[in-house]
């Protein structure tokens, strides 16, 4: 049960390093995004270089943006908005850094687990770190399947770095063994299911924000209204319908995992606390978030609720889940007070 302090220290160092690498990656994604746009404006005014035509032409970008971009400039064949040579270089570096960052991040988690000789998600710091890693891995896997989404890396890295920063500062807890209530194999099952679901739902929430941005952008452009900063990012985002579908698919994938996580939690609660459900604040908010995501899935199939309304429900669900993680753990006392923040 003793803690290996050398390894615990190494884990902390790796964690900080991972944040640093992710930050560099984010800067490169931002550069790709920025240079890409300048590149496109330049291209639309000149004749398009053949090289770009080949790369961004036919099939590969179809799913991201197959319809004509709503710009008043002459239409460029570079429809997905993919990038000048400079932007492309930045994008490649960004992906490389993300992979290195993910490896360092994963080692940090593994070493922490080895240091305390248990699953490395026993407190809020460790849990947040795992959620961040899952979000990054989800992005990298999607990237392997659809390389054209690379320029969206900025919007994935931003929340991941935010979560990890909070984990490393506000939520940080020293490596220590588990309290008796957590000494159960259900910790591995229940918490990993919750972390996976939350990582994926976080990705879905990010995509939903992009969807709302793109929709607002389209509406303003159609009405010939001026487009200011955060909304102006929408010009290079994928089609709203695509974003909406991807956000839905992420929820459709995560929802059964989340349901399983809650049921696993109930089984564990039956063994640990004498009842499978007791409306403990954590349970109550897990229920609230579950109901809201269920409402999202129904809303997407109901006329009049599709699109914008459903998107807001998705964000509401994510807010409930975030509330459950931060506020319920830190502010409201209950049986799930394992934060290690006292």
């Amino acid at each position: 049960m003793a803690v290996n302090s050398g390894m615990a220290h190494l884990s902390d160092t790796l964690f900080t390093t991972a944040i640093a690498i992710y930050t560099l990656a984010m800067i490169c994604y931002a550069a790709e995004y920025a240079f890409g746009r300048r590149g496109r404006i330049a291209m639309t005014s000149r004749t398009t270089p053949a090289k770009v035509l080949v790369r961004a032409g036919a099939g590969e970008s179809r799913d991201v943006d197959s319809r004509a971009p709503r710009v008043t400039k002459p239409i460029s064949p570079n429809r997905s908005g993919r990038t000048s040579a400079v932007g492309d270089r930045f994008g490649r570096i960004a992906v490389g850094l993300t992979v290195i960052g993910a490896v360092v991040h994963a080692s940090s988690i593994a070493v922490r687990g080895a240091a305390v000789d248990r699953v490395p998600w026993g407190n809020m710091y460790e849990f947040a770190s795992v959620v961040g890693l899952i979000a990054v891995l989800a992005f990298l896997i999607s990237l392997a399947r659809a390389p054209q989404i690379r320029y969206l890396g900025l919007f994935v890295m931003l929340p991941v770095i935010l979560v990890m920063f909070l984990a490393g500062t506000v939520l940080y807890a020293k490596a220590s063994p588990l309290v008796p209530a957590l000494q159960s194999y259900w910790l591995a099952i229940h918490v990993s299911a919750a972390a996976s679901a939350e990582g994926i739902l976080m990705t879905s929430a990010v995509i939903t924000v992009l969807f709302l941005t793109r929709q607002r952008y389209d509406k303003r452009v159609a009405a010939r209204l001026p487009v200011r900063f955060p909304i102006s990012l929408g010009g290079r985002l994928p089609e709203p319908a695509t974003l909406d579908r991807v956000a839905y698919r992420a929820v459709a994938f995560a929802f059964p995992i989340y349901t399983f996580g809650v049921i696993a939690g109930a089984i564990w609660a039956e063994a640990a606390w004498g009842r499978y459900w007791g409306w403990d604040p954590k349970e109550t908010w897990a229920f609230i978030a579950w109901v809201i995501y269920a409402a999202y899935l129904h809303a997407r199939a109901t006329a009049g609720w599709k699109g914008r309304s459903a998107a807001w429900i998705n964000l509401l669900g994510f807010s409930a889940m975030t509330f459950n993680f931060f506020v319920v753990n830190i502010v409201i006392s209950g049986l799930h007070s394992y934060a290690g923040l006292n």
Partner: protein, 524 residues
């Protein structure tokens, strides 16, 4: 013009009822009810709840006056037992049943139905494409059927003029999964209700060395409405706490709680040994015995005013969950009405530390030279005869005769000649017997829910049509044309790429035209 005929009143009522029913079972209502359910649950986590923590509720009521009483009248201190919370979920329940019954009927029909005939203009479908082949209509049709394989349900139709269509459909089990999920959800709700009605919980505080029996005078209990007090299922059993150990890290964090018990399944059965830890209750035929909490029971010897001595051991309640500084009372009754009761109120500090001025607190839950701090009283302990808490003393009819902080073995003498010796301590454990007859079935329903969800969200519902048009008989250079159109009836997966690869496989299997040419696999 005729005046509108007056309908009989009962038809109007029926119509209103029918309209109300339709509205109730609509998806829109279900959505609103889902939101209401989520919103209604919020105060249940933000306000103290009576079933979870009655003393916190009392404190809130005391501190908030009229506002607190107003909230109480709304039932906000027992949200999940309140009538309005029940109203929401019962409406949702009814709405769900009303929605499910017709859907089950529809799905039963859909499962047996043949795929629909091909629409006239396949190119207007969300996904479409066509290719030419030198194969005959018959061969192209057979090869296409082979490509689709067993996962697609396919119907062949002839449209005249030698034109052949194939209608294909797959993913029927998506709706099956959906229905299974919702039926399992309904079953789960019913099972939860049944469990609540028939469940019971008995709580005991047991000093090491003592025992307790199922249903026999518990320290507290919580019974389902249809569970009778003292209900026991299937048979009475007794548990004896032989040894309780708590181990801590040097930081004071707990690392292990273990209760060694022996139990008899029935009164006459031989004793069996078992170990109960926090995540491992003892399961005895339908009942579970849990280790819920623990504390200290100091042992004292009192010499009473009349010269007799008494030995006593009393469980003290932890006031601080991290250091286990505990409080409690001893009540030694003398002759009734003689004002010779000795009452002792005090605290137990497992690892004491002097905070200055002789005020003792505890710095660790681990026991290390513990101190028992006591106030000694004499008089009448229970003047009213009403039940009292065993952990505190009502000092209105008592007068203080002494006080001391004792280490083990030390004795204090009060002004009236009463002496109190701190002999030592034993640990106590709070144990809980729980019974819920429906929870095993509930687990089955839960598993069915997850499986249903996976099917309902993961399975891809697709429709596909092929129209195979023969070559023009008067033009030897013309070829057989295969037009394909597809429709995704669910958003799962990426149908565009599925369709594209299916089209490729179809063309490869049917056999390409002499000059292979893939035309227009675009989406719009």
């Amino acid at each position: 013009m005729n005046a509108p005929r007056k309908r009989p009143a009962h038809t109007a009522v029926l119509r209103i009822l029918r309209r109300g029913w339709r509205r109730l079972i609509s998806m829109r209502t279900a959505l609103v009810l889902l939101f209401l359910l989520a919103v209604a649950a919020v105060p249940g986590s933000l306000l103290p709840q009576r079933p979870l923590n009655p003393s916190k509720v009392d404190a809130y009521l005391a501190g908030h006056g009229a506002w607190g009483r107003f909230l109480d009248r709304l039932g906000l201190f027992d949200v999940f037992g309140s009538a309005w919370f029940a109203a929401i979920y019962l409406l949702l329940f009814v709405s769900l049943v009303g929605c499910l019954v017709p859907r089950i009927r529809l799905h039963a029909k859909a499962i047996r139905a043949k795929p629909l005939p091909a629409p006239k203009h396949l190119e207007r479908l969300p996904e479409s494409g066509h290719f030419e082949t030198s194969a005959s209509v018959e061969d192209a049709s057979a090869a296409s059927r082979a490509v689709l394989g067993r996962r697609w349900r396919v119907v062949r139709r002839d449209e005249g003029g030698g034109v052949r269509t194939l209608s294909a459909e797959k993913g029927y089990s998506r709706e099956t999964g959906n229905l299974i999920f919702h039926i399992a959800l309904l079953a789960a709700l019913i099972l939860i209700a049944v469990g609540r009605l028939f469940s019971y919980q008995y709580n005991f505080v047991v000093n090491e060395g003592d025992g307790f029996c199922n249903g026999v005078v518990p320290d507290s209990s919580r019974l389902g409405r249809l569970a009778q007090d003292g209900a026991i299922s299937p048979a009475p059993f007794c548990v004896q706490l032989n040894q309780f150990t708590a181990t801590y890290l040097s930081s004071g964090e707990p690392s292990k709680f273990t209760a060694k018990v022996s139990y008899n399944k029935t009164v006459s059965a031989p004793a069996q040994a078992a170990t109960i830890t926090v995540n491992h209750p003892l399961r005895i035929e339908g009942d579970r015995v849990y280790l819920i909490g623990h504390g200290f029971a100091p042992k004292i010897t009192v010499r009473m005013p009349d010269g007799t001595t008494r030995e006593d051991v009393q469980a003290f309640l932890p006031r601080d969950p991290t250091t286990l500084l505990s409080e409690g009372a001893f009540k030694e009754y003398g002759k009734q009405g003689a004002n010779t009761d000795v009452g002792i109120e005090g605290f137990f500090a497992p690892t004491p530390a002097d905070t200055g001025g002789g005020v003792i607190t505890s710095v660790s839950p681990d026991v290390n030279n513990p101190i028992l701090g006591i106030f000694i009283y004499q008089g009448t302990i229970n003047a009213t005869g009403l039940p009292q808490s065993v952990y505190s003393l009502d000092t209105t009819k008592l007068s203080r005769t002494g006080q001391a902080n004792l280490q083990i073995g030390q004795t204090v003498r009060a002004t009236n000649g009463v002496t109190v010796t701190f002999d030592g301590w034993v640990p106590w454990a709070s144990m809980q017997i729980s019974h819920d007859p429906s929870q095993d079935y509930l687990l089955i329903a839960g598993v069915a829910m997850v499986l249903g969800l996976i099917g309902s969200l993961g399975i891809r519902r697709r429709r596909l049509w092929l129209r195979i048009t023969p070559s023009a008989s008067d033009d030897p250079s013309s070829l057989t044309v295969v037009s394909v159109g597809g429709l995704a009836r669910s958003d799962s997966g990426n149908f565009s790429s599925e369709f594209a690869s299916l089209l490729e496989r179809l063309e490869a299997a049917v056999g390409p035209a002499p000059e292979p040419e893939l035309v227009g696999a675009g989406r719009e």
